[in-house]
């Protein structure tokens, strides 16, 4: 498994740069990951990311766009506004979680 040095730490990532060890994440790292995909984090971005982290620690899998809407209360439209083009991937990336698997 590849690692990447970020903020002076060795971080485990997959081929696409998604964290494979969600426990290696903290908000400082989240901010750094956001910078890499050109996302400027606002309070609202952090609310989404905190929802994803909390939901993941409860259920052991990354929330889908649908769940971030229905359970988290962030409409899909807003998710696209905050994390343009590919919100599901980008939200998971910044939150240090595996890609959601709606896709089989």
């Amino acid at each position: 498994m590849p690692t990447q040095n970020m903020l002076g730490r060795e971080i485990h990532v997959d081929d696409e740069g998604f964290l494979t060890e969600p426990d290696e994440w903290d908000e400082a790292l989240g901010a750094e990951l956001a910078k890499q995909i050109d996302i400027e984090m606002t309070d609202r971005h952090w609310e989404v990311v905190r929802f994803l982290r909390a939901d993941f620690s409860e259920r052991g899998e990354t929330a889908t766009t649908r769940r971030v809407d229905s359970v988290g209360g962030f409409s899909v439209k807003e998710q696209f506004a905050l994390f343009p083009k590919k919100p599901a991937k980008k939200m998971a990336y910044v939150a240090g979680l595996p890609k959601p698997h709606g896709c089989v």
């Binding site: 889908t64 769940r67 229905s70 439209k77 998710q79 696209f80 083009k85 590919k86 089989v104």
Partner: protein
């Protein structure tokens, strides 16, 4: 007497009824199955039906004829579960008590979930082929359609038989060529996925196939609504795809009672352990086939492979023992590619579809992830296997687990 209740007599429920009746002693276990439909459809037939290539009597059989003696069939639809009292309540308020419950109510297309989809254009410029009636309506439409922009669209994953939309696009290409009107039809494949299929190597192969047939792909398309005035799909990132004829796969959702019971996720799919199919919330409830949230394809083959292991898993669970062999997500799909050819995919939770041979490594006779005539004929023949062997739960020489032997991973994927 102990009571096993199976909800749904589709592929998974019917195999379960047949296999469980053989294994559970008749003087110890009552088995009841609840189903609302009078007829059981061979669902892969819908796709061929849309192109006028499947006779109706080949794909429909009365539900009771597919069930073994010693299983009680109750006709009705499930309204709710009462997990504290261990009862199922039907729409006519019949109460069915259980000791163990198997949920096999599958998923259904829900055009009402997308604004503009299920309204006045449904059955006119907007069609689908995931129910018998929809396939029939599409057949009539295609028979007289004069051409224009044909769009094959997938709303949201997961869907039943994720390769069917690809097959539809490829068969449409053949269909219009045969009619000498391919030049009057443009075909666009619109998907929420980044490519033609869910896993990379197959996505590349299938993507090439679409390209070679002059089928355009619009990837990463998350639909917000259908504009009924301009006849266009509109995505959340404000892309528009106009159509003259839309063939869509609406959001697939599990039964409403699953959502109400607290056993489901936000698509009403039963949350289960992916190796044992036991509910994560209730240890007297299992779910099989499309009704679950396990991360593999929603397909009859999955129900079949699960059922090869399930009887044993169930009996060990009763005895308070861990499962000996767990389900690995194994699925196979035939992909009809038009012109009398087809491909075959073989995969599981961990391993994506790879080139190789099936069902016998190195021997075949079927080739994986490659177009051939024998794959096409096997797909047609599978209808007989389904009625004669698969539903009755008889032996079929395919392993429940994926074999990696003889499979080759391309160097550059």
């Amino acid at each position: 007497m102990k009571r096993l209740v199976i909800l749904g007599a589709g592929t998974a429920g019917t195999i379960a009824a047949n296999k469980m009746r053989r294994k559970l002693k008749k003087d110890e276990w009552d088995i009841t199955i609840v189903e609302q439909a009078p007829l059981h459809d061979y669902q892969p037939g819908y796709l061929f039906m849309a192109f006028g290539r499947q006779r109706i009597r080949q794909i429909r059989r009365p539900v009771p004829r597919l069930l073994p003696r010693g299983v009680t069939l109750i006709s009705g639809s499930v309204e709710s579960l009462n997990r504290d009292e261990k009862t199922v309540v039907l729409a006519d308020q019949t109460v069915v008590p259980y000791d163990y419950l198997v949920i096999a109510t599958g998923v259904s297309p829900r055009p009402d979930q997308t604004p503009g989809m299920g309204g006045g254009q449904w059955g006119k410029s907007i069609h689908s082929f995931y129910t018998f009636d929809d396939a029939l309506a599409l057949k009539e439409k295609l028979a007289t359609w004069e051409g224009g922009r044909l769009v094959m669209h997938v709303t949201e994953m997961p869907i039943k038989c994720p390769v069917a939309p690809l097959e539809f696009s490829l068969l449409a290409d053949s269909f219009f060529r045969r009619r000498g009107m391919r030049d009057k039809v443009s075909i666009t494949f619109v998907t929420p996925l980044p490519g033609a299929f869910t896993r990379p190597i197959a996505a590349a192969t299938l993507g090439d196939l679409l390209g070679s047939r002059d089928i355009a792909v619009e990837p990463d398309f998350m639909i917000e609504r259908i504009d009924e005035d301009t006849h266009a799909l509109v995505s959340y990132d404000e892309r528009e795809v106009p159509f003259d004829l839309l063939v869509t796969v609406p959001v697939n959702m599990g039964a409403d009672f699953v959502g109400l019971s607290g056993l489901g996720d936000d698509l009403n799919l039963v949350e289960v352990d992916k190796g044992t199919m036991l509910s994560t919330k209730d240890d007297s409830i299992f779910a099989l086939g499309d009704a679950t949230n396990i991360p593999t394809s929603k397909a009859g083959a999955v129900a079949h492979f699960q059922m090869d292991l399930f009887v044993d898993i169930f009996l060990r669970h009763l005895a308070g023992k861990e499962a000996e062999e767990e389900y690995d997500g194994h699925a196979i799909c035939f992909v009809e590619s038009g012109g009398g050819k087809g491909l075959l995919l073989d995969f599981n939770y961990e391993t994506e579809p790879l080139p190789g041979s099936f069902p016998f490594p190195l021997i075949g006779p079927l080739r994986l992830l490659k177009e051939s005539r024998i794959n096409h004929w096997s797909k047609l023949a599978f209808r007989y296997v389904y009625w004669m062997l698969l539903l009755p739960g008889r032996y079929i020489p395919m392993s429940a687990h994926l074999s990696l032997w003889g499979k080759k991973r391309p160097k550059t994927a």
